[in-house]
């Protein structure tokens, strides 16, 4: 590949250094349990970013790790924990005991967070909804405001638009210009890309532009929205990437067991993040046998769509 059409390709280190300064509002985990950008989150932790606002519906354990590492001052999420094992202990320590630091929580629901990003993506100040009426979330989240409908007699909730600084999205494949194919459950990924000022695409594979152009319906992130493209195979582990690798359930459960106390989390952080120089090193640490057990054994290719004329 030539330099001329590869201006956005960057290493993870470069992409985070350039596009995720301290104080940023960052979308991570937009596809819920699928394709969580763990490699990007770990690089943010290694580079010692501070005062981040994390935005995501449910983050599985990535938000918990970044909170434990002291990178975060605010969380805007519907749910923070460990999807298959239970609570997130770093999140609890931060909220209950201000360890390692106090964080502000802005409690959303999945629908209100999706609507906040949708409003951002649409370029309007809010989206209306019925959800949260009567709940304490409505009372305590200043981004949710009740209002009288201008077209009928109903009362609704206005969900204030979010315009994050950067969305970090793992995808199956992209070209060097950032045009990205992603498939499977998408959560809020598409609206997150459109609402954010910048997008970092983390791709399992970098492919030729012709491959992406062969299926424009699957190009859910057009390259002009993308600031950097990082080729990082295995970048979502222990989360799954449909068609590439499965979910490492045991890793989530081990994390749960090992991070109950702050000392355990510190050991975990050192072993899996701070003393790990690269994703390649990380994957060696996960181990060949374990990665092999997560490989796709039974591929299921979709039928091609004919774009001919």
């Amino acid at each position: 590949m030539t330099e001329a059409w590869a201006p956005k390709l960057a290493s993870m280190q470069q992409a985070i250094a350039e596009h995720v300064p301290s104080g940023s509002m960052v979308v991570l985990g937009a596809q819920l349990e699928q394709m969580i950008p763990f490699a990007a989150g770990h690089e943010i932790m290694r580079q010692g970013r501070r005062d981040l606002t994390l935005v995501g519906p449910i983050s599985d354990i990535l938000f918990d790790q970044m909170i434990g590492a002291g990178c975060v001052s605010r969380v805007m999420a519907a749910w923070v924990g460990n999807a298959s094992a239970g609570m997130g202990y770093c999140f609890r320590r931060a909220v209950e005991k201000r360890v390692p630091r106090a964080i502000e929580t802005v409690d959303h629901t999945n629908l209100t967070l999706a609507l906040a990003l949708h409003a951002g993506a649409m370029g309007v100040p809010f989206m209306p909804t019925y959800t949260t009426l009567g709940s304490d979330l409505l009372k305590r989240n200043g981004n949710l405001r009740e209002f009288a409908s201008p077209v009928n007699e109903e009362r609704l909730v206005a969900v204030r638009a979010l315009r994050p600084d950067v969305a970090i999205l793992n995808v199956q494949r992209a070209d060097a210009a950032g045009n990205a194919h992603l498939w499977g459950s998408l959560g809020v990924a598409v609206d997150a890309a459109r609402a954010s000022r910048k997008v970092i695409v983390i791709a399992e594979e970098i492919v030729a532009p012709e491959i992406i152009a062969s299926d424009p319906n699957r190009t859910l992130i057009p390259g002009f929205l993308v600031a950097a493209v990082v080729h990082e195979p295995g970048g979502a582990h222990p989360a799954p990437v449909q068609g590439y690798y499965g979910r490492d359930h045991a890793f989530f459960h081990d994390y749960h067991e090992q991070t109950r106390e702050v000392e355990g989390f510190e050991r975990w952080l050192k072993h899996w993040v701070t003393e790990v120089p690269s994703r390649e090193f990380y994957l060696k640490r996960v181990g060949e046998a374990r990665l092999e057990s997560l490989r796709v054994r039974d591929h299921a290719l979709s039928a091609p769509a004919d774009f001919g004329f």
Partner: protein
């Protein structure tokens, strides 16, 4: 508990499937009495066939392959807002006598504990035609008044949901616990509708944090039938989500 949850799903219904036990309940219903039910998952998945293997999360690759639809969360969540979803399942740390749920702030020995939060729970409780709650039966979990309304039930009683502006056809339908099944009267308050086999009414009452009303026609929850038991074992052979 799982079998009782599965029976809340009627055939051909649109079902919002929550995390953990509801994923098993949906699989059991599909394999037994509700083969035409459709499952909705907030990650952006719609399935008319149960996933072929045990799900640890709704984002597991086996839940996406051969799905009816994969795509945006909003596509799925707005079906709820349209009023199309017949029943949604939820877990909770606390439920109160009017079916309000708390999954944000817990209480352990007088100490406040920060819980993960709503996820899609508030959306389901606000917008699904019927909401079914699954939780362990204890005085700590079934409380007179939740400390924080994460997901609205009947608020303070009859008429409350309408006053708040919530959809007319929505609200709590059942609370399925480890001891029995609670349902809701016209006044919006919960009552004991059935006890599980081998459980006494006294046991339920002494483990409930308020004076729970008991139905005049109190029933015994039917035992899981062989087909339901077989389905539960087929879906969760290692008992990861189902304890017994």
């Amino acid at each position: 508990m799982v079998a009782a949850a599965a029976r809340e799903i009627r055939d051909s219904e649109l079902v919002f499937v929550g995390m953990r036990l509801p994923m098993i309940a949906f699989g059991v219903a599909k394999r037994t009495h509700a083969p035409h039910a459709t499952g909705l998952f907030e990650s952006g998945v719609i399935r008319e066939t149960p996933a072929p293997e045990l799900l640890y999360t709704m984002g597991d690759p086996s839940n996406l392959r051969k799905a009816t639809y994969c795509g945006d969360m909003l596509y799925v969540m707005t079906l709820l807002q349209q009023g199309r979803v017949n029943v949604g399942f939820l877990g909770a740390a606390e439920v109160d006598r009017f079916g309000n749920l708390n999954t944000t702030w817990g209480n352990r020995n007088g100490q406040q504990i920060r819980l993960p939060g709503s996820g899609g729970a508030c959306d389901i409780a606000s917008l699904a035609q019927r909401t079914v709650v699954l939780l362990e039966h204890s005085r700590q979990r079934l409380v007179p008044r939740v400390g924080h309304i994460t997901s609205p039930g009947n608020g303070t009683g009859n008429g409350w949901r309408r006053e708040q502006g919530l959809p007319l056809r929505s609200g709590p339908s059942a609370v399925i616990t480890t001891l029995g099944v609670l349902r809701f009267g016209d006044d919006g308050e919960a009552y004991l509708a059935s006890v599980h086999p081998g459980v006494s009414v006294e046991e339920v009452l002494s483990n409930t944090g308020w004076t729970l009303r008991v139905a005049e026609d109190l029933a015994t929850t039917p035992e899981p039938n062989p087909a339901e038991l077989a389905a539960i074992r087929e879906i969760d052979p290692q008992h990861f989500w189902t304890k017994s």
